[in-house]
């Protein structure tokens, strides 16, 4: 059950245990100039109902293309798309439209209809579902309430800030009460503060409505804030998939390591590396051990000198990950002893440079 998001374990619900989404060996090719480019190559993944699933990777990794196969904006060249336990890969016409009514989508650049009021924008999917006008008015009011934009009904998108536009985008995506929401870089066009409020809104919707969310991003901060599980994509393939805490605490693939490192901001300035003479070691503590006085105890047990260069404790899904960069001095033997002692106490010890 390692895949299941932690906070769902205690939440009962009819949807539990059901795969909301299954992608089976998806491949998408694009015709390039004289050669085919495989944007997505044999990707398989499963998303549980109620889960927030992240897909991260650098630009051009095929994340967007993969996401677009879910609601078949992009038809895969091979492989299957399953939604709510049924195959949808080849749906067409009215059946495809009905599927899309129940899969919301949020876009990086909002994609609102600029010439129509906020009301009309949110009403669009409701009109697509052929709801009566009176019911549409009610539902739009509910949605505006949900995204805290009650007074903007008559405004045009151009009169709103980026964050407000994305709230309208989210309201529009939720209009027909979908149980699956696709988010294509939902915060990449927003500033830091707005990003956090939009992510919190998505997280809140996930918890309150039990909505399954698939979000793609190139920023680990986004994944860290709302996702339960994450797939790391590179060159059209998923190179690593794990719980978000696991990815942050022990990334396996070099790309994951790079993304995590960037996110934790633990690059040591070159000036410091040059100046420091001893052995530089990076320590990763997980869970409760992050809160123990390991450093003081190492000094006491081995007599090595220990100089703290850099460090922080991150909380991912409420669980701590401590990362410290320290310099060890006091002679080769004491350093070896200290390293051995540290290895017995913390999750990971990496020697960055020997003294």
């Amino acid at each position: 059950m390692g895949f299941r998001p932690m906070r769902l374990l205690s939440e009962p619900g009819p949807a539990r245990g059901l795969w909301m989404l299954e992608l089976k060996d998806i491949t998408v090719r694009f015709q390039g100039h004289g050669h085919d480019i495989a944007a997505v190559q044999g990707v398989s993944l499963k998303v549980a109902a109620g889960e927030v699933y992240g897909i991260i990777g650098t630009s051009g990794a095929g994340k967007s293309t993969l996401l677009r196969t879910i609601n078949l904006l992009q038809r895969p060249d091979s492989g299957q798309v399953w939604v709510r336990g049924g195959e949808v890969t080849w749906l067409e016409g009215e059946a495809l439209r009905q599927l899309r009514l129940k899969i919301g989508m949020v876009f990086q650049h909002f994609e609102l209809v600029g010439s129509r009021s906020i009301f009309d924008n949110i009403a669009l999917p409701l009109r697509a579902a052929k709801l009566p006008e009176a019911r549409i008015r009610e539902r739009v009011a509910e949605l505006l309430d949900l995204v805290e934009l009650k007074d903007k009904e008559r405004a045009l998108p151009g009169q709103l800030s980026g964050g407000q536009k994305q709230r309208v985008g989210i309201a529009r995506a939720l209009a027909n009460q979908p149980d699956l929401l696709l988010c294509d870089e939902p915060t990449s066009a927003l500033d830091l503060e707005t990003t956090e409020s939009i992510l919190d809104l998505l997280g809140d919707i996930n918890r309150r409505l039990g909505l399954t969310i698939v979000v793609i991003s190139h920023e680990m901060a986004v994944i860290k804030r709302i996702c339960h599980r994450v797939a790391v994509m590179k060159d059209g393939k998923v190179v690593e998939e794990n719980g978000v805490y696991e990815i942050f605490s022990s990334p396996q693939h070099p790309l994951s390591q790079e993304l995590v490192e960037k996110s934790l901001g633990l690059a040591l300035p070159q000036r410091v590396v040059d100046k420091v003479k001893g052995t530089i070691v990076r320590l990763v503590h997980l869970g409760d051990e992050a809160e123990e006085p390991v450093l003081a105890e190492t000094v006491k047990a081995t007599g090595a000198h220990l100089n703290l260069l850099h460090g922080r404790i991150e909380y991912v899904g409420g669980r701590p990950i401590g990362v410290l960069v320290v310099e060890l001095t006091g002679g080769k033997r004491k350093i070896e002893e200290a390293l051995a002692y540290l290895r017995s106490r913390v999750a990971r010890v990496e020697v960055i440079r020997h003294g």
């Binding site: 009905q98 899309r100 209809v113 010439s115 669009l124 009109r127 529009r172 209009a175």
Partner: protein, 222 residues
């Protein structure tokens, strides 16, 4: 300068204005009724669009290009048999309305296609992702988003038509052009020529102002 005063040609000028008006109204109606849907069709059958259809798109494009590549005077003469068949005549403003309508449909169709192409593909795709059908996308997304551009295109079509209708006058279509040719050219009455030029400038200017005003009302971009 001649002996013709404004009062002297006023009845002729009035008649010419009405004839020009008739030609413009008929062909602009054709542009709206046929050119607008044709432009939508040209756009919607493009690759990746709502009703992608390569053969239809290519065929429609060729037809539009064929009409547009003919100088209008040639088109006038080329469609004389059609004018005769449709209106029973080959001269006069009613007969001249036929080639004018054909030209304006082709002209406006291209401008419509261009205006629709200006609508972001992202917002069309978003509507599709949310389950909107083609009709809903057309009247809730494409039409409102392109409206200002469509009005501008319609204005340009009207202005070109005023010019074309004057050309039609040269070959017996009536209207302001006919007046200018008959009095101003054949009878060396520069005064009349001068007046018709002023009238044409005023007509074009008024159309442009009207179009700009309408386009501005539909302009809702950031």
């Amino acid at each position: 300068m001649g002996d013709v005063t404004l009062a002297g040609i006023a009845p002729d000028l009035w008649k010419a204005l009405l004839e020009t008006g008739l030609m413009v109204v008929v062909s602009m109606s054709a542009a709206l009724l046929l050119g607008l849907p044709a432009g939508f069709l040209l756009f919607l059958t493009r690759r990746g669009m709502l009703i992608e259809n390569r053969p239809l798109n290519i065929l429609g494009g060729l037809a539009v290009n064929f009409v547009r590549s003919l100088p209008f005077v040639i088109l006038l003469i080329l469609v004389l048999p059609i004018s005769k068949a449709v209106t029973g005549r080959t001269t006069g403003p009613v007969a001249a309305s036929v080639p004018l309508a054909i030209a304006s449909v082709a002209f406006f169709a291209r401008l419509v296609e261009g205006a629709l192409a200006e609508v972001g593909s992202g917002v069309i795709e978003a509507a599709r992702a949310l389950g909107a059908d083609n009709w809903l996308i057309i009247h809730q997304v494409l039409l409102p988003e392109a409206l200002a551009g469509l009005v501008r295109g319609y204005t340009i079509t009207a202005i070109s038509l005023i010019g074309y209708s004057a050309m039609a006058g040269v070959v017996g279509g009536g209207g302001i052009g006919f007046l200018a040719i008959n009095y101003g050219y054949y009878r060396y009455e520069t005064g009349v020529m001068f007046i018709t030029v002023i009238v044409l400038i005023l007509l074009v200017q008024a159309t442009q102002w009207g179009g700009d005003w309408a386009a501005k009302r539909f302009e809702h971009r950031k």
